[in-house]
């Protein structure tokens, strides 16, 4: 067993209530911070492509500033070949001006995702295949404040294939096809001020490239950015939480270190999860305000993934340590269960690296563009899903066994001697407390998740809602798991109450013999005894 006498058992009801209340208020604070102060986590900007005529002398087509291109409208197609596909460059110069001023991207906006949307008009004579393979010749450039208008630098260029699934729901002339979105690029850092995207849709009769694309009228680019305000709140929250968690971790380890025995498995796990949480809390995002860090997205995903893995492992080991029938003290005893977590994480890591890792080299890359890539990605995700299911089965089975044991011990409790009874009661109490807290946190996470999705998905136009559920979800849930770990570290750290041992008043010799099987030190037994005295007073 993890050793009797954690703070949770020795805390009076009143103190526990106050602590939980304070943490609860912190939690509410996090939700309010997200919901009221922070803006929505991300915004979209929808940009309509300008159709530039390609100019041989200028590698870049842009629509604002000196040297801007000549535009052309695609509303009507003519019967003459006056243009070829290679002459038309779909140009997006972002950000677009607003409020009468030229905007530029700020590094606070962190990252950028670009999604294309095609407006293709339906005509009875021309039918488009579903699952049309679109070939895009794309180029991404950037420019900074102070650069000349034509001084665009190449960021990435690539020829990409994308699946475009267009359906004509009503077959009426003049209607647009309902086309699927086409993911274009993902930038892990928004280091520069202006970006320019040039897209050509070349046609090659022999190779069969882009043959059968119908009456393409417009191309839209949806740009998704993190909001600077959200980043601001996020970084500041992390900067506040980080030292608090590190402090409580040091306090915890100091207490464990002062014990006369070696740290038990649960204490080690708490330390590990605390360290991982601190890594997650470390506001490394602030560095991206000064340095170009395109790998920031991967880093964030990795940190979060490792944290989830640690949390899942912790629950498993916690349940295992409270089985109350055997003495498992090594992490190796749980290898079967933990391998489920491990395999799941490795699968997700492989997926992450094949998608976002490749995007470091080529921001236009997506694993979903090709069929093999899609299958591979699905395989990774399925593997992760399977191991997730395995994990749940393991965990549920373990919790079920713990509850079985609890009911067995319960019936035997009155017949037991005092100290032994208290030991088991303490164990049951600890377990139930964690179960309750975990279920509560998971439930709140779920509710917030659904709320965030619904509030965003159900576009509430014309209602100037003051609450951002999306931010409330992200910041609130982030704060909640911090508070959860924080509470665990405090409540499950070894109690030093009545540290100088008192007389073992109630212990009979038979109990001592029974207890000798347990890896508990006399001092801890005495703390149990102290607990028994205290509960007698209460």
């Amino acid at each position: 067993m993890s050793g009797g006498g954690v703070i949770l058992e020795n805390l009076s009801g009143k103190k526990l209530f106050v602590l939980v209340l304070v943490l609860f208020i912190c939690q509410i604070g996090c939700f309010l911070l997200g919901g009221l102060l922070a803006p929505t986590p991300s915004t979209t900007d929808m940009v309509l492509a300008s159709k530039c005529i390609y100019n041989q002398s200028n590698p870049w087509s842009y629509i604002r500033g000196t040297g801007q291109c000549v535009t052309h409208e695609l509303g009507s197609y003519t019967s003459e070949y006056n243009l070829v596909a290679n002459d038309i460059v779909f140009t997006f110069q972002i950000p677009t001006p607003r409020d009468g001023q030229t905007l530029d991207y700020s590094r606070w906006q962190q990252n950028m995702i670009g999604v294309l949307n095609f407006d293709i008009e339906y005509h009875t004579g021309t039918t488009m295949d579903r699952n049309f393979v679109l070939t895009l010749d794309t180029k991404l450039g950037y420019r900074n404040i102070g650069d000349r208008d034509d001084d665009w630098h190449l960021y990435a260029a690539s020829v990409e294939k994308r699946n475009l699934d267009c359906v004509a729901t009503e077959k009426i002339d003049g209607h647009n096809y309902q086309c699927s979105l086409v993911p274009l690029f993902e930038l892990g850092s928004l280091f520069h001020d202006y970006y320019l995207i040039n897209i050509k849709i070349p046609v090659d009769e022999q190779m069969g490239i882009n043959i059968g694309l119908g009456h393409l009228k417009d191309v839209w680019l949806v740009v998704i950015n993190q909001n600077g305000g959200f980043t601001y709140v996020w970084i500041h929250m992390k900067a506040i939480i980080f030292p608090i968690v590190v402090g409580i971790l040091l306090w915890f380890w100091y207490r464990v270190y002062r014990l006369a025995r070696k740290p038990v498995l649960l204490e080690q796990m708490l330390l590990i999860i605390g360290i991982i949480l601190s890594c997650l809390n470390f506001p490394i995002e602030s560095l991206s305000l000064y340095y170009d860090m395109p790998y920031m997205l991967i880093l964030q995903d990795l940190r979060q993934g490792v944290f989830y893995a640690a949390l899942l492992s912790f629950w498993l080991i916690f349940a295992g340590e409270h089985l109350m029938d055997s003495h498992q003290t090594s992490i190796l005893t749980y290898w079967k269960h933990l391998s489920a977590v491990f395999i799941g994480c490795v699968a997700l890591f492989a997926f992450e690296m094949s998608e976002r890792g490749t995007q470091l080299k080529n921001p236009f890359y997506t694993i979903w563009a090709t069929n093999t890539g899609t299958n591979l990605a699905m395989a990774f995700i399925l593997l992760a899903l399977l191991s997730g299911i395995c994990y749940f089965v393991f965990l549920s089975f373990m919790i079920w066994r713990v509850f079985c044991n609890i009911s067995i011990r319960r019936s035997a409790l009155p017949a037991m001697s005092n100290a032994r009874r208290l030991h088991y009661e303490g164990s049951i109490y600890r377990f139930k407390f964690l179960m309750l807290a975990t279920i509560l946190c998971a439930f709140v996470t779920m509710v917030e998740f659904v709320l965030g999705q619904v509030s965003e998905g159900h576009w509430r136009w014309n209602e100037n809602s003051e609450i951002n559920y999306g931010s409330a979800f992200l910041i609130g849930v982030y704060g909640m798991w911090n508070i959860y770990i924080f509470a665990l570290i405090i409540l499950y750290s070894p109690s030093h109450k009545h540290w100088p041992s008192e007389m073992d008043v109630n212990n009979s010799s038979s109990d001592t013999i029974e207890f000798s099987r347990l890896p508990t030190e006399p001092t801890e037994m005495s703390s149990l005894a102290a607990f028994s005295k205290k509960s007698a007073f209460d």
Partner: protein, 408 residues
């Protein structure tokens, strides 16, 4: 039990679907709340420059017929792109535009760069009207008396169902064009959101991004088109005031059509691309979809009358109250069979009809029982057109040897 489970599921769902099509916004009815007093949402400068713009009132500048013309509507087929392009026409200037009300003239000076989008919107709305009503007795034609102002397009003088439709489709066209113009960076003034930004901290755009362009299009259209009706002070309960209220209502219906028909599209971009983070936006509908939607509203338009207290009231209490997206009309429509200048009817004389059809384009209905002439004509026309990227249409030439029926 915990987040990762949700994440797993969502990764799957979101990647399979990619996009989640959402639902149109539900907007509350404003029917009775919409009293003639409106709060201005876009500020304007003090009226020092008033009077520079066009003169108030309708009916000015008839000569020439305006760019949208009333020519022969039969020349316009629904598939032929009849809307003018923004690129070809020179941008209009406030001083050249006539037919604006006093309030509109003030707005015009402030937002001169919006003019070409407004013109484009009105003309594409009218073109859509013509294509929607191509096979009806009233084919969105206007007589010279109804031409209104060349810039803001014609208005039917009779407060009929058709007048309601024209009003609504023009408003929808403008709102649509404004939203579009915001999105290709043609307009500078489309605004950013200011919600929730702490004062003096950072620029709006960096803090919370920019608001939706559709919202800007809606608001600007509301101010610009509605101010015309509000500039005139009619006696309460007079037919003019009734028409004014009707126009306001139908303007709103037209603008809301843009919102109603817009599609919400979402993308997941959370941890590892999971759906823990989701962002949605609105996709603009095509003008054809707006036309069809408003045509449905036209069929179900509700007849109202102006009360003495200056409100609109349903004429038949058995019908339910019109919502803000329903069309309302005051007068019954003429039958559009014979030329009637004041009612805005050019008659169906000389219209081509379909002998075999029993619908509205059939000869019996279209010709109002007057019979039709039949001619045998050999025509060459384009057929079996194929559209190719990039930019050309390949058509066959069909020689049609057919009987053409025209109404007497």
């Amino acid at each position: 039990m915990h987040i990762n489970f949700a994440v797993f599921i969502c990764v799957l769902l979101c990647y399979v679907n990619g996009v989640r099509a959402g639902h149109a916004s539900s907007l509350k009815s404003h029917y009775n709340k919409e009293s003639p007093s409106y709060a201005q949402q876009i500020p304007w400068t003090p009226p020092e420059q008033a009077g520079v713009g066009g003169t108030a009132g309708e009916g000015t500048g008839v000569a020439g017929g305006g760019p949208m013309g009333m020519g022969d509507p039969l020349l316009l087929s629904p598939s032929s792109p009849s809307t003018p392009t923004l690129a070809t026409d020179p941008p209009p200037k406030c001083s050249e535009v006539s037919g604006l009300s006093v309030g509109q003239a003030k707005l015009c000076l402030l937002y001169e760069e919006h003019l070409s989008s407004i013109r484009y919107g009105i003309q594409s709305g009218l073109a859509e009207c013509r294509s929607q009503f191509l096979h009806r007795r009233w084919n969105c034609s206007m007589t010279a008396e109804n031409i209104g102002s060349p810039f803001l397009g014609p208005d039917l003088q009779t407060s009929s169902r058709e007048a309601a439709f024209v009003q609504a489709i023009k408003a929808a066209g403008v709102a649509h064009a404004m939203a579009r113009a915001c999105r290709d960076g043609r307009l500078n003034t489309c605004s950013c959101s200011r919600s929730g930004r702490p004062k003096d901290l950072r620029r709006d755009w960096v803090w919370g991004g920019c608001g939706d362009n559709m919202e800007y299009g809606y608001k600007f259209t509301k101010v610009f088109l509605d101010v015309k009706e509000k500039d005139k002070r009619w006696k309460k309960g007079s037919p003019e005031q009734g028409r004014s209220l009707m126009n306001l209502h139908n303007n709103e219906a037209g603008r809301r059509a843009v919102l109603k028909k817009s599609r919400v599209t979402c993308k997941c971009h959370g941890v590892s691309g999971s759906c823990s983070l989701i962002t949605c936006w609105q996709q603009l509908p095509s003008i054809r979809e707006l036309g069809e939607y408003l045509k449905e509203k036209y069929e179900g338009a509700i007849e109202v009358r102006a009360t003495k207290r200056g409100r609109l009231q349903i004429r038949d209490p058995r019908f339910s109250l019109p919502t803000a997206s329903d069309l309302v009309y005051i007068d019954d429509s003429p039958n559009y069979c014979i030329k009637n200048a004041t009612a805005g009817s050019i008659g169906t004389h000389g219209r081509e009809c379909n002998r075999t059809s029993h619908g509205t384009d059939g000869c019996s209905l279209l010709c109002c029982g007057r019979g039709y002439n039949t001619q045998r004509l050999v025509t060459r026309e384009k057929c079996e057109c194929k559209f190719h990227w990039c930019c050309f249409v390949q058509c066959k030439t069909c020689i049609r040897n057919a009987e053409v029926h025209t109404c007497k």
